[in-house]
Amino acid sequence: MDLNKLQNQLIKIARANPPSDRVPYAFEKRVMTLLRTAPLVDAWDLWARGLWRAATPCLVVLLLSAWIWLSPPAAPPNSGSGTPAVDVAQQFENTVLAAADSEPAADFVQ
């Protein structure tokens, strides 16, 4: 069987027999009633637009974070270059532990 011929024949028939454009009775009235009760704004559409708008600043933050994370660390404090140390991790640790360091030592002597 010639499938191409069958395919062409079926398409020809579909083309020659378009579907009806009949509109059900009072359809416009039903739609207008629906529109009057439906929200004027599509909530999902607003949500999608908000997400797209947030995508750009998120991308900027991501790139900035990646740049900071991947930047080579500065030279250590006792290096011959004489540049000040920028050890962010060490400074963070020092800040967090400062509260613990300032407390008086517990007396474990019994």
């Binding site: 579909a14 009806s20 739609v31 704004v41 559409d45």
Partner: protein, 191 residues
């Protein structure tokens, strides 16, 4: 003198929702004809068309007036029909034994080379709907727009939002997909 589409749209955007009704009356036949290409049940067709008008009403402030309102509306209708196809995609494959008697008779007349009579048109239409119903949503959409409605590729690209290259690629794949469906049904006849 009847108001133009632009005047009606402007009135709706200014808060006169009743001005939307003449637009529904004017373009519903076209939207219904489009929806009937993609849904078989009349209840589904009505749901699709209602969805189209609801979206048109909600997104009316996005209509810039650069193209006729009908073009903008039809683009919305095609998108809604495509969403419907994707939501109702079936995995069931028809076999030759699933065909009705009239469809089988039409197919057998075609295979034998006999000219089908006009009374066989309904049978052929049923067969076409069955075949189209088994295509993937993208294939069915492009076959309907390109082959059956005979629209140019550029217009299909505008309606669907696809590039012209993508339309052509999908058309090629859709024809192959349709041939596969026909081959599967026809193969069972000869086995």
């Amino acid at each position: 003198m009847e108001p133009t589409d632009a005047e009606l749209i402007a009135a709706v955007l200014q808060g006169d929702a009743d001005s939307f009704e003449p637009l529904i009356e004017k373009y519903s036949p076209r939207v219904f004809a489009t929806a009937r290409r993609y849904a078989r049940r009349e209840s589904e067709v009505e749901d699709i068309v209602q969805e189209v008008w609801l979206k048109a009403f909600q997104k009316l402030n996005g209509f810039r007036g650069e193209a006729p309102f009908e073009h903008w509306l039809m683009r919305l209708a095609v998108h809604t029909c495509y969403d419907f196809l994707r939501a109702h995609q079936r995995n069931r494959e028809s076999s030759f034994s699933d065909l009705s008697q009239v469809e089988t008779e039409w197919l057998e007349r075609f295979i034998s080379g006999a000219e089908p009579g006009t009374e066989q048109t309904d049978a052929a239409r049923l067969l076409v709907e069955r075949i189209l119903g088994e295509l993937s949503p993208a294939a069915r959409l492009v076959i309907t727009l390109l082959e059956i409605e005979d629209r140019p590729v550029k217009e299909i690209a505008q309606l669907t939002g696809w590039s012209t290259t993508l339309v052509k690629v999908r058309a090629f794949r859709a024809r192959a997909e349709m041939r596969k469906v026909l081959a599967r049904i026809a193969r069972e006849k000869y086995l």
